[in-house]
């Protein structure tokens, strides 16, 4: 569990904006994985199997939350608000990336996080998200295009 904890929390946070919610979802996923452990095929890699459970747990939690309360995004932050102080630059960039991620469709942000952050292959992600591999490529492409633009904008003025 120690080995996959951070990865699970990051993937859950890609779905849920709130870090506490993400941790709750990651915890649910670990408990669920424990219950389903006999369904795991040891001939296959463990990571994708677990991350599928994490993604499902996070999606379920996000759905339950969205039923209770709709959480509107602040468009000023994503759409190029005032530049933060240089000292807080990194954390500000992180915040903007989180906001930008939150604006992406759920499958798109999961795909880009699983591919570019966690290093899973398109085929593995396709298995996790239960979509064709081509769909994963497309989702990663579109997510990157948006996020790269954000990063480029961030670098340009300096």
């Amino acid at each position: 569990m120690d080995r996959y904890a951070e990865q699970a929390r990051r993937v859950a946070r890609a779905v849920l904006r709130d870090s506490d919610d993400a941790d709750d979802a990651a915890q649910d996923a670990f408990l669920s994985a424990l219950v389903k452990l006999e369904q795991y095929d040891p001939r296959r890699p463990f990571g994708p199997w677990l991350m599928r459970i994490v993604a499902n747990a996070a999606t379920d939690r996000r759905r339950r939350r969205s039923v209770r309360s709709a959480e509107p995004l602040d468009p000023g932050v994503v759409g190029g608000g005032p530049r933060p102080d240089v000292v807080a630059e990194r954390s500000a960039l992180s915040e903007r990336l989180r906001q930008a991620l939150a604006e992406l469709p759920e499958r798109r942000r999961l795909a880009v996080v699983l591919f570019d952050v966690e290093g899973y292959s398109h085929a593995e992600i396709a298995g996790m998200l239960k979509v064709p591999e081509g769909t994963v490529r497309s989702e990663v492409f579109h997510a990157r295009r948006k996020l790269r633009t954000l990063l480029e904008d961030w670098r340009e003025p300096s």
Partner: protein
């Protein structure tokens, strides 16, 4: 994050990946692991509690069935037990009843002449 990485490249974008990792980096790793492990412990204990309650109910049901079976057996025994061998012999033909009772109740083995005698004692 250069042009050659566009659009459907098979390699992760390390710069974007690092930035996203920092953005999504969870805090308090040890606390999270401890929290999940504690939940795992209670979940296991919970499942054992469920199994134990099932076992308790099963044992109670088994004892109840045994008790009912025992009581039914005792009742049947008490009704059948009224007709003992002696009484069955007593209820035999009136003319041979006394001899039969003497043979059964006697502490010594019967005399063969009594048993095989055609005359009444």
């Amino acid at each position: 994050m250069t042009e050659h990485q566009m659009p459907f490249d098979h390699q992760p974008d390390t710069e974007l990946g690092d930035a996203l990792r920092r953005a999504l980096e969870p805090a308090a790793h040890d606390a999270f692991v401890a929290r999940v492990m504690a939940r795992v412990g209670t979940t296991r204990a919970g499942s054992w509690d469920v199994l134990a309650s099932w076992a308790g109910r099963g044992i109670a049901a088994a004892l109840l069935v045994l008790g009912v079976g025992f009581a039914a057996g005792r009742m049947m025994q008490s009704t059948v037990g009224t007709a003992s061998i002696e009484e069955a012999l007593v209820m035999g033909p009136a003319d041979s009843g006394g001899a039969a009772i003497a043979v059964v109740r006697g502490s010594r083995p019967p005399d063969a002449s009594v048993v095989f005698s055609s005359q009444r004692p």
